[in-house]
């Protein structure tokens, strides 16, 4: 199962490494991790997505709570949360397949942010599943580079 954790932490040195170290030490998997400052300078927000069985996901929540620099841990449910991530992807094209690639972008709501002779950089922000689909759709064109921000998440209400 998937565990989505929205974690408020002290914004100071060593906290990110404490949290990621916790995952490494106990053998938990990190699917994605996104960190940024909140509206308060001394508090950062992390969204951590992990997979594991029920016991593992429960343990992750408890171990996160145990960290002194972790202020609050919230477990988010996929259905009741907005999950978004952004991706930059560089895809190669030829004169013959360029139009179909642009069409895919239009249908999927992706934007071409840079165009060069043989490749384009496409930006897409969507839920992680759609981003996965988009990668599959453009795979045959030739993916040169991928950068993903990691999922950020918020409950709907």
């Amino acid at each position: 199962m998937k565990g989505i954790f929205s974690v408020l932490v002290e914004n100071k040195d060593g906290v990110l490494s404490a949290v990621s170290g916790l995952f490494a030490r106990r053998g938990y998997n990190i699917d994605s991790l996104a960190v940024g400052e909140t509206e308060r300078h001394d508090v950062s927000s992390m969204t951590i997505v992990s997979t594991g069985d029920q016991r593992t996901i429960d343990q992750i929540e408890k171990q996160l709570n145990k960290q002194v620099d972790v202020i609050k841990v919230r477990r988010l449910e996929e259905q009741r949360s907005i999950m978004l991530e952004m991706m930059l992807i560089r895809v190669s094209y030829t004169p013959t397949n360029r139009a179909s690639l642009i069409e895919i972008c239009n249908v999927m709501g992706a934007h071409i942010v840079h165009l060069s002779q043989k490749s384009m950089v496409i930006e897409i922000h969507a839920d992680p599943e759609t981003i996965g689909d988009f990668i599959e759709l453009v795979r045959s064109y030739g993916i040169l580079e991928v950068q993903r921000t990691g999922t950020i998440s918020m409950t709907k209400v």
Binding site: V9, E10, G14, S17, A18, G21, R25, R55, D58, Q59, K62, Q63, N65, K66, Q67, V68, D69, V70, I71, K72
Partner: protein
């Protein structure tokens, strides 16, 4: 006031009178400030790891935070094993390490080690102090975090220049701490408490399993009273030795693969386990999943992350052992366990010990039994690691004393420095340290610390000229291919005793054992007793 002086003031404000350590250039300003302290006595260890274990022994007996101090680089890295040991056993320690000047951090200069990074998974929390004015807050928080909730070691790494820097603000040791992310739950949820009481009322065969957390939480008396009031029998883990005397009618031994078979059968026959302050690790319950299916489990712990980590509880209850058992003592519980206790007594009586012991030399089981029967009622027993630890845990006759060992990390060489720390904390209490000839040699240099500071510990060495537990493992699992386990005939222990002005006695047979133990226990000076045992003796 400079940073170093502020650190000393903070330690004084915590009421600490003894610290253990080893100086070096990077911590020299602190040692200079310590020179002026009327309150704090510094005990110079002979290696930094031992300073950490001494602080551990001191903390466990004083039931306060232990403090140890080292320099930077190798001095600090030497301490890591002691921190890992304290972390695994949840012992409250504040460890202060010197660090290179802040402008040199990260440049790999002489004696620089990234201590925060190196100890990340072995401390409850750590600080690298970058501003002298942070010292009062950091020290207050360090002591608070180490000694509250689930206790453990906290590292304060403090660069040399910060120790030298003048505080810009006036020194005030904070009265309170406020850490947003650290609020240990002590009370125990009332709704959960009601469920626990209901589960106990429904049980026919309840069994209490105590771990080290009961002792760390000073809950021995309350837990024992609870067992007595509702007639609930008790078994314990190795770290949970010391809640109930061995002669108590509700006492059914130590569980686990090094414990009593009848304690394990008690667990297998129970319909409700009440686990208190134990993590239920592999040595206590090898296959917890088998138990989960057959019985109900209440798991009481101050650390919510312990609950469900190794065993899925049906009923978790998070809180301080004293608070919880104070409530449980007043709870409306009405159960009749007389049949169950009768069954356990039969199990205990009918369980035959199949272990065979050599007729040669001293029988280690008899040794531990005789020793602990003859020791003072309130004596402190410090067991090392190896066969000596397992025989100790198995045969220790608990009266009203304390049993100290490292059950979590299993660090060889723990017993001598821990016994020194314990004896310094309780100078009028008999302290006996029991180790093997292997573990003794890991920290025997610490006997100098004992001699210099007039700390008369009693060291009993079970000598079989082997690393006995590894040898036993090789005998059972590696076809008797004894690889790298021979200690041979060194050292001459009588010479070691003489070297440190200790009295000495040696025993080679069971007949003279009682008399020699009495002699060993009667000496006022520090003393060593060597009991030669046959290497073929096994623990399980």
């Amino acid at each position: 006031m400079n940073g170093a002086q502020a650190m000393v003031k903070c330690i004084e404000a915590e009421g600490i009178t003894r610290i253990f350590g080893y100086p070096g250039v990077a911590i020299a300003p602190f040692y200079d400030a310590l020179y002026d302290s009327q309150q704090i006595e510094h005990i110079l260890s002979r290696q930094e790891q031992n300073a950490g274990h001494e602080a551990s022994g001191y903390a466990r007996i004083s039931r306060k935070c232990g403090v140890c101090v080292t320099s930077s680089g190798p001095g600090a890295t030497n301490l890591i094993t002691a921190l890992a040991t304290a972390y695994a056993d949840s012992i409250p320690i504040v460890a202060i390490t010197g660090q290179v000047d802040t402008n040199l951090l990260g440049r790999d200069v002489f004696q620089e080690a990234d201590m925060r990074g190196a100890t990340k998974s072995f401390v409850k929390y750590s600080y690298l102090v970058k501003n002298a004015d942070d010292i009062p807050r950091v020290m207050k928080e360090a002591f608070h975090i180490a000694s509250t909730g689930r206790q453990g070691p906290v590292l304060v790494d403090i660069p040399h220049d910060i120790q030298m820097a003048e505080l810009k603000k006036e020194f005030v040791y904070p009265a309170e701490v406020n850490i947003r992310g650290y609020k240990p739950n002590l009370k125990g949820n009332a709704q959960q408490m009601n469920k626990v009481i209901a589960a106990i009322n429904e049980a026919e065969k309840p069994l209490l399993v105590t771990g080290g957390g009961v002792i760390l939480g000073n809950g021995e008396d309350l837990v024992r009273s609870f067992c007595e009031k509702f007639q609930i029998p008790l078994v314990h883990t190795m770290m949970g030795i010391g809640v109930m005397p061995k002669a108590h009618p509700l006492y059914f031994g130590m569980l686990g693969n090094n414990g009593k078979p009848y304690a394990n059968r008690a667990v297998a026959n129970a319909d409700l386990l009440i686990i208190v302050g134990a993590r239920i690790a592999d040595r206590a319950v090898p296959k917890p999943e088998n138990l989960e299916r057959s019985l109900k489990v209440i798991h009481i712990d101050i650390d919510s992350a312990e609950i469900g980590k190794n065993m899925g509880p049906t009923l978790p209850l998070v809180g301080d052992v004293k608070n919880i058992f104070r409530s449980l003592l007043e709870a409306d519980i009405d159960i009749d366990t007389s049949n169950w206790i009768g069954q356990l007594e039969r199990i205990k009586r009918d369980t035959v010990d199949h272990r065979k012991f050599s007729n040669r030399l001293v029988n280690p089981m008899l040794l531990i039994q005789t020793l602990t029967e003859k020791m003072d009622d309130d004596a402190i027993y410090v067991a090392d690691v190896g066969q000596n630890q397992l025989w100790s845990a198995d045969n220790y006759v608990m009266k009203h004393g304390r049993f100290l060992t490292t059950g979590g990390m299993g660090t060889m060489g723990y017993s001598i420095p821990a016994a020194i720390g314990a004896k310094i904390s309780a100078p009028n209490t008999q302290v006996v340290c029991v180790c093997g000839d292997g573990s003794f040699q890991m920290t025997m240099n610490e006997l100098a610390t004992a001699a210099v500071n007039h700390v008369p510990i009693k060291v009993l060495i079970l000598r079989n000229r082997f690393l006995g537990l590894v040898r036993e493992h090789q005998e059972k699992n590696y076809g008797r291919r004894y690889s790298g386990v021979q200690l041979h005939n060194y050292p001459h222990f009588n010479c070691i005793a003489a070297a440190y002005s200790m009295d000495y006695v040696e025993c080679n047979d069971n007949d003279s054992l009682p008399e020699k133990i009495e002699q060993f226990l009667s000496w006022d000076r520090g003393c060593i007793m060597v009991c030669n045992i046959a290497e073929e003796n096994i623990t399980v």
